[in-house]
């Protein structure tokens, strides 16, 4: 295992009911990385997390967490991981405090002060039964249960989907606090692209069980751009451009979204098409839509 490496997957495949949900994924996760996992519904994000954490056994390939097979992790390895599921799996009859006390009983390094501070900041009603809490409060409680032992790897499946904007902002600030500790790594999925854009250092994009993009956020933003093309003559709708993701032609003007962009290619493209080309940077949401199209 390379230094600082927490997760490692090679040819990771998962088939459920004859459907290949994950199709031979290869990746590594290192300390200090905050990875935002993007993908449409059914892209395989939750299954990927299930396999990463040993909840499900991969059909093919391998997945190692802290150097151990994810399906056979020792207790000491499990103690280094925190997980927030997509739909909280709390017991409706137990209060928030009882949930936390139970979770704390499994760890020697449970940070009670941290949990109390976060519970207070996030306004989690710890004296209330989970069944009587709102969806957002339950989600916050589930997150507290995953954070109390200061995990080195924090995996969260759409952790902020049920939170209001204020709570989401607080939550993201906490994620950034954790991320500032370079000995930890965070992998989380979300449909709120803005949150990922604000917090993630790396982006993974999934489409139909494959990782179609994996890299740093800045690198992604630099490599996927939109070109505004203005030509003297009508532009061919079947215009072929290297790395073309999307093309809309309106007579003499066209809009093209390209991947693997390098600024040095601009002059070459202008010469090839005989048109004026303007390069526009894209936000993560636009990039996501273009890549998923």
């Amino acid at each position: 295992m390379a230094s600082g490496q927490i997760l490692e997957a090679n040819g990771l495949t998962k088939t459920i009911g004859g459907h290949r949900i994950l199709k031979g994924l290869d990746f590594n996760v290192y300390r200090g990385q905050v990875i935002g996992l993007l993908g449409k519904n059914g892209a395989g994000k939750s299954t990927l997390m299930d396999v990463l954490l040993g909840f499900a056994i991969p059909t093919g390939g391998s997945c190692r967490v802290f150097g151990e097979d994810s399906a056979r992790m020792r207790a000491s390895t499990k103690a280094r991981i925190g997980f927030v599921p997509q739909s909280d799996e709390l017991m409706g009859l137990m209060t928030g405090a009882q949930h936390l006390a139970l979770a704390a009983s499994f760890y020697d390094n449970w940070n009670k002060e941290l949990v109390q501070r976060l519970a207070s900041d996030w306004q989690v009603p710890l004296d209330r039964r989970a069944g009587a809490m709102s969806g957002g409060e339950r989600q916050k409680l589930a997150t507290l249960m995953a954070l109390g032992h200061r995990p080195e790897l924090l995996v969260m499946d759409e952790p902020a989907s049920g939170l209001d904007p204020v709570a989401r902002r607080q939550f993201m600030r906490t994620i950034l606090d954790i991320a500032s500790d370079t000995s930890r790594a965070i992998l989380y999925s979300s449909h709120i692209v803005g949150d990922i854009e604000r917090t993630a250092s790396h982006i993974w994009m999934m489409r139909e069980g494959e990782l179609v993009w994996r890299g740093e956020l800045d690198q992604l933003k630099e490599s996927v751009v939109r070109l505004q093309i203005r030509a003297a003559q009508t532009i061919d709708p079947a215009l072929k451009l290297p790395g073309l993701l999307d093309l809309s032609v309106f007579g003499c003007t066209a809009t093209a979204t390209l991947r693997d962009w390098q600024p040095s290619r601009l002059a070459e493209l202008e010469r090839l098409t005989g048109a004026d080309i303007e390069v526009e940077p894209l936000g993560l949401e636009d990039i996501f839509l273009a890549v998923q199209a």
Binding site: K78, E89, L93, R129, A142
Partner: protein, 439 residues
């Protein structure tokens, strides 16, 4: 140890009902100890009733979530906690048993061997109970399987011609069965990848979808009924309860025959009729569900609150009829063909069985909103009426109908109906919370 303490706290002290029973049972056992009117162990039994019945279910609820799979030694610790519950419960019962003999002449006091025997026997029994509840909490089908498994050792022993089966089952063979059961259970529990959550209740989302997309043309009334009855119909619910009652009665009939015991037929008869009266619990649970789910119909049903109450009340009565008719038919069959006839007059029996059903029905509808003190009082009266009006006379040695009690129960039914109607009229709809789920 920290986890064990948490599990014990959860099983004994987490809910108000647990705390109330524990305190009440404790006080009762002390009172009985001082008064000497009954064995103090009765109080202890009340105190530990919920832990005994719920430890297995709690275990499933605790290990089923995915985050529990990441707790270091999570399953092992929770299992030890559950075992700790069984140990504590058994210890308390043996102590309760011993209380009776404090101050007795030495020759009447049980020796250490007797205490040890009681401890082992109770430990075996609670073990079986806990594992059974763990399995049965998965789904109704598993519950039926557990019921069969409980009878299996008796059947096998009878089949192989073992003599004095009851003694064997409570002796070394019983301990061996329990030991094997624990070994198999622990082996499975610690190695299986995922342990499923309880699936006794249909998921809310699934019900909502079924309510809209069910196989029948969904008129508003049909859709409302599907929503309120968890996708069921009065007929299907009645059928389910009829099957459950037939199984339970058959088991009760079979037990004495299988283990070769000579239980008095009167006792078995009383037990069977007592079982049929549990239809009241089914009706109560259903009407409770109806009340809790009705909030979603406030806008969509197009009815005023009293109208919606009337409609839900009708549905409750239809369901109660569907549950009780097969049970009544079963009672008639038992009466005429099996000659299982309780000592009570038929008219009394009928009224004493119907009154708790109706009371439970309207008590459930009352739960549209809560008044804790009043609800606890009403539930207490309901259970007391059922117990003193039906169960005690059923198990009595001679015909001793308590007509005054049954008529009081019927008056109580009218009162509950009035209370339910009042609560529906005054219901602050947006604030009514759905029933908390285990999921």
């Amino acid at each position: 140890m920290k986890t064990v303490a948490q599990v014990l706290r959860m099983v004994f002290w987490m809910q108000p009902m647990q705390r109330a029973l524990l305190l009440f049972g404790g006080c009762l056992s002390i009172g009985l100890f001082w008064s000497g009117k009954a064995p103090p162990v009765v109080g202890v039994l009340i105190a530990v009733l919920l832990p005994v019945l719920t430890a297995g279910m709690f275990l499933r609820k605790l290990v089923a979530p995915r985050h529990a799979m990441l707790w270091p030694h999570g399953r092992g610790r929770l299992l030890v906690g559950t075992l700790g519950t069984i140990v504590v419960v058994t210890l308390l019962l043996v102590l309760g048993y011993g209380l009776e003999f404090i101050g007795a002449p030495p020759r009447y006091r049980p020796d250490t061997e007797t205490y040890a025997m009681w401890y082992v026997l109770l430990f075996v029994l609670w073990s079986q109970c806990t594992i059974s509840m763990f399995i049965a909490s998965r789904s109704p089908a598993w519950a039926l399987l557990v019921l069969i498994a409980w009878l299996l050792p008796g059947i096998v022993m009878r089949a192989i011609g073992a003599e004095d089966v009851p003694r064997l089952l409570t002796g070394p063979a019983g301990i061996a069965v329990a030991a094997v059961m624990w070994i198999v259970f622990i082996g499975w529990f610690l190695t299986v990848r995922r342990i499923g959550d309880a699936r006794w209740r249909m998921r809310e989302g699934a019900v909502a979808v079924n309510a809209q997309l069910g196989p029948l043309p969904a008129t508003r009334e049909i859709a409302m009924q599907r929503w309120l009855l968890n996708s069921g119909t009065p007929l299907s619910i009645g059928l389910q309860w009829a099957i459950a009652a037939i199984v339970l009665v058959a088991v009760q009939l079979a037990i004495p025959r299988m283990i070769g015991g000579d239980s008095p037929p009167r006792w078995v008869t009383a037990m069977m009729f007592g079982t049929l009266s549990l239809g009241a619990a089914a009706v109560g649970a259903l009407s409770w569900t109806i009340a809790k789910r009705s909030r979603w119909l406030w806008l969509t049903a197009g009815r005023s609150r009293p109208e919606l109450f009337g409609w839900c009340e009708q549905l409750m009565l239809k369901t109660a009829l569907a549950v009780m008719l097969p049970l009544a038919l079963l009672a008639l069959l038992m009466w005429y063909f099996l000659h299982s006839r309780p000592v009570l007059p038929p008219a009394y029996l009928l009224l004493a069985m119907v009154a708790p059903v109706l009371a439970a029905g309207w008590f459930g509808l009352m739960q549209i909103s809560r008044r804790i003190a009043l609800d606890v009082l009403a539930a207490g009266i309901l259970v007391a009426g059922w117990y003193f009006g039906l169960i005690l006379p059923l198990f009595g040695n001679r015909p001793d109908p308590r007509w005054e009690l049954v008529f009081a129960e019927l008056a109580f039914v009218v009162l509950l109906r009035g209370l339910a109607y009042g609560r529906w009229r005054a219901a602050d709809w947006p604030r009514v919370q759905p029933k908390p789920t285990f999921d």
